[in-house]
């Protein structure tokens, strides 16, 4: 059986967030590839889900049918997911340093066939929310109390399929589905507002019939509060527009490097040392 959900304090969650950030830097620098800054923006949300009592999963029974589901639709940010999974006990933290290496189950994008605990194989942007809609529908048919959380990038909102999924979730009043938009403001080639401005997210999501909250997503207390509110609503799908900063936690380094996006690049060993110093526990 699965243990009672444990609620950690905000201070404990903040400390855990720092641990995740250190893992993200260490593993991507060791891999010499990957997306550390895309991972760092989503740390508070992922930390709160796994360790704040929201995501009811059991690392010893990763396929337990009544578990909650988490889908990282912005699959390139998987270092944040792997870090949380390792800390939660899905696999040893030592495995994190095998990220992206031949033979490792920690692939460059999440692969459910190889890593128990991954709920959707992502990496082609735009599909995660639709998969979450299907899971939420299926779980509800079986009268399971499971909740489905989907984390989407703000650049990813350019994929039309996300809007198809938003409409579908509304049609079926999926109260067991929560979408979290990690609005870190950047995508591959520049600022999201310059590439393809999808804002205002909150107004658009509300117009699609969703319950919407907009929060400061790199602060733990509002993240926890928003997840509490979202999971208490059961008559319609809920969205959290999580306004974050890409690379949060190592921003001074990105400023020094004159690149606040720093998309898809690991830190050099030298910069990683500086980053880890910034992220001391």
């Amino acid at each position: 059986m699965v243990a009672e959900r444990k609620k950690a304090s905000i201070a404990e969650l903040e400390a855990k967030a720092k641990v995740l950030r250190r893992h993200i830097i260490e593993m991507t620098t060791e891999a010499a590839s990957g997306h550390p800054t895309s991972s760092l923006s989503a740390v508070e949300v992922v930390t709160a889900l796994y360790f704040g009592g929201f995501l009811n999963v059991d690392p010893k029974q990763p396929h337990w049918p009544d578990r909650d589901r988490i889908i990282l639709s912005k699959g390139h940010a998987c270092p944040v997911l792997y870090s949380a999974m390792a800390e939660a006990g899905f696999f040893p933290t030592s495995l994190l340093l095998t990220l992206r290496k031949l033979g490792s189950v920690l692939e460059g994008h999440p692969n459910l066939k190889r890593l128990p605990g991954i709920e959707a194989s992502t990496g082609s942007l735009g599909q995660g929310l639709s998969i979450g809609v299907g899971q939420a529908l299926g779980l509800r048919m079986d009268k399971r109390s499971s909740h489905v959380f989907v984390i989407i990038g703000d650049g990813e909102m350019g994929e039309g399929q996300v809007w198809e999924a938003l409409a579908t979730a509304h049609k079926y009043k999926l109260g067991n589905l929560t979408a979290i938009i990690d609005q870190n403001g950047y995508q591959q080639t520049g600022a999201a507002k310059d590439v393809l401005d999808q804002t205002p997210f909150a107004d658009k999501l509300a117009a699609f019939g969703w319950h919407v909250q907009t929060i400061e997503g790199n602060k733990m207390a509002p993240v926890v509060e928003a997840l509490e509110k979202a999971t208490a609503i059961t008559d319609r799908p809920t969205a959290i527009v999580s306004q974050t900063q890409k690379g949060f936690g190592i921003l001074p380094i990105l400023e020094e490097e004159h690149d606040l996006n720093y998309h898809g690049k690991p830190l050099s060993k030298k910069l990683a040392e500086k980053a880890l110093a910034l992220l001391k526990g």
Binding site: A120, S124, S130, Q135, A165, Y172
Partner: protein, 319 residues
């Protein structure tokens, strides 16, 4: 002359109708089956199931990409989703969703593409699935089935539900002659020899199977004896039946209502090139889009007829 008449076949239902009826009939036996539709359930015939099991039918609107990924999610939650649309829209519109939400994660989703081939007629080339088999065959692990008549489609529908893993079932809009009035032993990946002969083998599926049987009947009057194989599964392909036919008859004709590129012809030719190189001819839509028109006229104009199949047999015999 009507389709199948030379071969003495009676007209039967369209394969899409056989599929819809079979799905409904199997609904109680397979309680995890759900349907996911892109608002064409009355065309694909999933509506027959939906009317009988309304709580297990989801019409997600005109949004094929989302439809396919939703099915992937339902499968992840333990359901057996049957996702149907026009073959062209299902494969072409949602190709990446089939790749990433179904095939790569090996989800137990049953894809059904109706309105395959040019025999859909008047609606024209934008609605004709003539590249779907090629596209479906590219996905590792995907089973690809093209049944020819009502009874074998009924069997194919159950075989697809029994199979664990992603499948693609191709159905058609036109009524088709009944090849198997007494049913058939339908096994995924196992060809059915419908007729035997020593001079050549026609390997066909879908609507081209009754046409191949007509051609075989016509050729028999000229003293040419042709084996006909129902290659209802394109993937996994029945290599043993192909090799046996090549060895025993020495000549092969492949007939399908599909583009030349990537269809049954390509699959058979690959097996023959590797194992038993013999002369092969192909009867298919070629490398072109078709046009609007009546189904019979279209089959004539684009060369999918008893005459073209018979001519291909004669040509391959003389090579």
């Amino acid at each position: 002359m009507a389709l199948g008449e030379l071969a003495g076949l009676k007209m039967g239902p369209a394969t899409r109708d056989a599929f819809g009826d079979a799905l409904k009939a199997l609904g109680s036996k397979y309680p995890d089956v759900v349907t996911v539709d892109g608002d064409v359930g009355n065309s694909t015939r999933t509506e027959v199931f939906a009317k009988a099991f309304p709580d297990r039918a989801f019409n997600v609107g005109i949004a094929e990409s989302n439809m396919v990924s939703v099915a992937g999610g339902l499968a992840a939650a333990g359901k057996t989703p049957v996702v149907a649309s026009f073959a062209c829209f299902l494969l072409c519109n949602a190709y990446d969703q089939i790749r990433m939400s179904i095939a790569f994660p090996d989800m137990n989703v049953k894809l059904v593409g109706s309105h395959s081939g040019i025999s859909i007629g008047e609606d024209g080339p934008s609605q004709m699935g003539i590249e779907d088999v090629a596209m479906a065959c590219t996905f590792p692990g995907m089973v690809v089935m093209v049944p020819a008549d009502g009874p074998s489609t009924t069997k194919a529908t159950e075989a697809m539900l029994e199979h664990k893993g992603p499948t693609y079932l191709r159905t058609g809009r036109a009524k088709t002659p009944i090849i198997y009035p007494d049913g058939c032993d339908f096994q995924i990946g196992k060809a059915i020899q419908v007729r035997d002969g020593k001079d050549a083998t026609i390997i066909a599926n879908g609507l081209m199977l009754p046409i191949a049987l007509d051609a075989a009947a016509a050729l028999e009057k000229e003293g040419i004896k042709v084996r006909v194989l129902d290659m209802h599964t394109v993937k996994p392909l029945d290599e043993a039946a192909i090799v046996k036919a090549a060895k025993e008859t020495g000549r092969i004709v492949v007939a399908e209502e599909h583009l030349m590129a990537g269809g049954l012809g390509s699959a058979v030719a690959t097996v023959l090139a590797r194992t038993t190189p013999v002369p092969v001819e192909f009867v298919n839509v070629g490398d072109t889009y078709a046009e609007s028109g009546d189904p019979e006229g279209l089959l004539q104009k684009y060369g999918l007829t008893t005459e073209t199949v018979a001519a291909a047999v004669k040509k391959v015999k003389n090579r």
